[in-house]
Assembly symmetry: D2
Homo-oligomer: 260 residues x 4
């Protein structure tokens, strides 16, 4: 399907050193993007194929990519704290969820994980995402509509005051004190439902893990995912000298119930 009005495009201009400068932009008929390498006529892209190389007014090549989920999430990460693809991909797989499932997210943030969950749960799935900051929900809403995802319900509410949904397949938490919510979450999960919590500090690990055990969760796992990116050119291959050294720890637990 060629590029059409309303699509989001990822435009790339390479620096002299070969580093990609990325622009995430909505395709609109009369839009012009002004860059340091000259103007790009955005409207003229409509009807063209994805993956073409166009040019700025000054003749600099511009690659026109269809952004992946990871591109959009990484772009969000420039301005706010987000859950990165290295973490959200792992969270998705460990959560046990599949298309059509029903989940709750506590701590929408900028919606980076929300986008991932919404994409893979599909139109039959449902996400209820809680945040106490109106600003966060607004940003998440914008990002969701940009991707045409309509299976998310955003709730401006402190989850500590109650979670309205029940029979949940999984609950995701990106909040400072997830251990306080575990007793509230437990009855809202389906039998054997899963919670996943993302926390930045060492102190939070044991608070979550021990509270989870006490609440009635089992198979508790704690993971930290690291992503080493490499550079490779004709001359050499090596890990980049600088890397993201830490984002957070992922804690997972599964609801059990003693037989009586």
């Amino acid at each position: 399907m060629p590029i059409k009005e309303g699509d989001i495009a990822l435009l790339i201009i390479y620096s002299k050193k070969g580093r990609p400068k990325k622009f995430l932009i909505k395709i609109e008929r009369k839009k012009v993007l002004h860059t340091h390498k000259g103007a790009i006529d955005i409207g003229s892209l409509i009807g063209k194929d994805w993956g073409i190389v166009t040019k700025t007014a000054k003749g600099t090549p511009v690659e026109v990519h269809r952004p992946t989920l990871a591109d959009i999430v990484e772009k969000l990460g420039r301005s706010t704290q987000i859950i990165y693809p290295k973490d959200s991909g792992f969270i998705l797989l460990k959560s046990g969820i599949k298309p059509g499932d029903k989940v709750v997210e506590i701590g929408t943030g900028s919606g980076a994980l929300t986008l991932v969950l919404a994409t893979f749960l599909g139109p039959e799935g449902k996400i209820y995402s809680y945040d106490i900051r109106e600003k966060s929900l607004k940003m998440a809403e914008r990002n969701l509509s940009m991707l045409g995802l309509s299976n998310v319900e955003l709730r401006l509410k402190d989850a500590k005051e109650g979670i309205d949904e029940s029979d949940l397949d999984a609950v995701f938490m990106d909040i400072p004190d997830p251990w306080e919510l575990l007793p509230l979450i437990y009855p809202k999960l389906k039998p054997n439902g899963i919670f996943i919590s993302f926390v930045p500090s060492c102190e939070q690990i044991s608070k979550v893990a021990l509270a989870a055990k006490e609440t009635g969760f089992s198979l508790i796992e704690i993971h930290e995912i690291l992503d080493r990116e490499f550079e490779c050119n004709e001359k050499r291959t090596r890990p980049y000298p600088r890397m993201i050294g830490h984002t957070g720890f992922i804690i997972i637990g599964r609801k059990i119930k003693s037989s009586s």
Copy 2:
């Protein structure tokens, strides 16, 4: 939904030290599982809730979990070389695919990545998975049918002799010489389609990355994902003393086409 005949269950018996011993088993009416801690009447679980704790004949508690995709993949990893959740979750997110897409996998192996792709592409999606080893395809078939996934077509064929499908959203390769296939893959991908290659050795990185550039792929990225697992109990929290130090490198490229 309670446990029913034909389901796959993950049974857990804890060691004295609290380590989970895991059994992945199909629920059948007259089945008995013999363990070092006594027999488990599998048939009696039918109709019970997931997440209950039952007992062996000797009285040892047994947790009955509904296995996640990650559980099944990790179990496969005991007997064959697989793509682990830390890698397949990241691959999924970076591949740009979404439910309903059409992809090719070259190197089915035991089907660990196939399961992940098939789950998240959903019933509208389609995976064509090539392998030259009949044994691999048999194992993959067994695993797919165990999970009730029917959107995968397995092909006993050397992809070097030709890929039958076209207009692909993405191609995944877990083979020793992916660089040889890139020119074949390029025309089979949609405009801006993505290839992802998983290779174990340093030498393979630059072979893939440089061939990809030459073939007409752009935004080439190379990643290595590490998973540190932590133990946590009342006494202490720490990374496990032993870890999986290396599985493979993930190389990604996106098809571009110069405008003429």
Copy 3:
């Protein structure tokens, strides 16, 4: 200097897969080492050069190496918990010590760090090493005398009951509760003297770091050192699939004193 009686040798026999099997052995005139590949006449090595390749009675090649400090430390690590070269090399450099300095070690253990400190402090330097386990001190003594190091005084004493030495350049701690000792150590250090503590768990990090700050230490640093080992042969280069995922955290602080 050729091999002489009383030297320690590192003998290597390679497996079919090329993996080195290592034997650390004292050179004695009438000694014979029996291996799975045949007997080695140890006495016959006297007078030969280091680095030669001799043969077992069955004709298998045996390399004769002069062991490095790292070899000896790693060998210790097979039987007891030790501070590995990746950690002790870093500790040495961050401790600010140099040949001739005077230091205290609390928690001798098997003496792995003691050997490193004793080697680099040289004959003019002095180490006082405390442990409450007689067994540890015996093992450390054996290891020190094996290496001919005579600048260490071993003390069978709980350091909590008092450190006898003062005017110390540095203090090293490998004990479960180093934070309790910091107030005792502070007055025993020279102005601007350094303490280094090695702890395995996350909980211990902040206990040490915060107590250090309170006691009057500054420039507190916390490090974790990871060692990835690679295999390399004609076919490929890659990190080993298994690695040591965690040994401990290194915490460093420097004594300061407010001017009055």
Copy 4:
């Protein structure tokens, strides 16, 4: 020993967020250091104890530390490419050298490893350090004299044209093509002498390792050392979000000689 003229001091001013701003400075009688927080009268420190806290003219506290080897090396790392303490500590331990040994270094660079070797080899030891860049040798000379180390001989010479010394305990290489030098180094090493090479790229690993094997080196090891630094305050403990992701790979081999 109190602070005296000619000493090097490490002055620390903390930012509002508690981050240390570091100044490495030579103590001179009439010197004044101008900082963003006011002037520091350097001469007035003479005769004072190390580890005191003085004040700028504006009243901001300034800690006065005696710099460790690691401080000096890290400071060098700000302006040029260096071998960091995480690497040089490990290199030192794996090299098998001890005080009094004689070694050659090829690729002096800014002298970061030279300083480490010179410190631990002690006055009885000897380092011959080769570089083809006069600028590097000048910087190394300055750093060595700053630390009062006189056991290093700097050679402005391409080691490929010949190494003048022999009977060496170890050879260290930080140059782009160390494999070319291995045949030259082999005869200059003592029986069982050790070479250590530090290289940044993946391609170099196998070139060095395979050439070493061919030349007559054994027990070849390849390591990559990673240093994760943690932050810790009253609120939380966690790895720093940014880390140095890569410096280089360390390759080690030991000279052997087949018995004839």
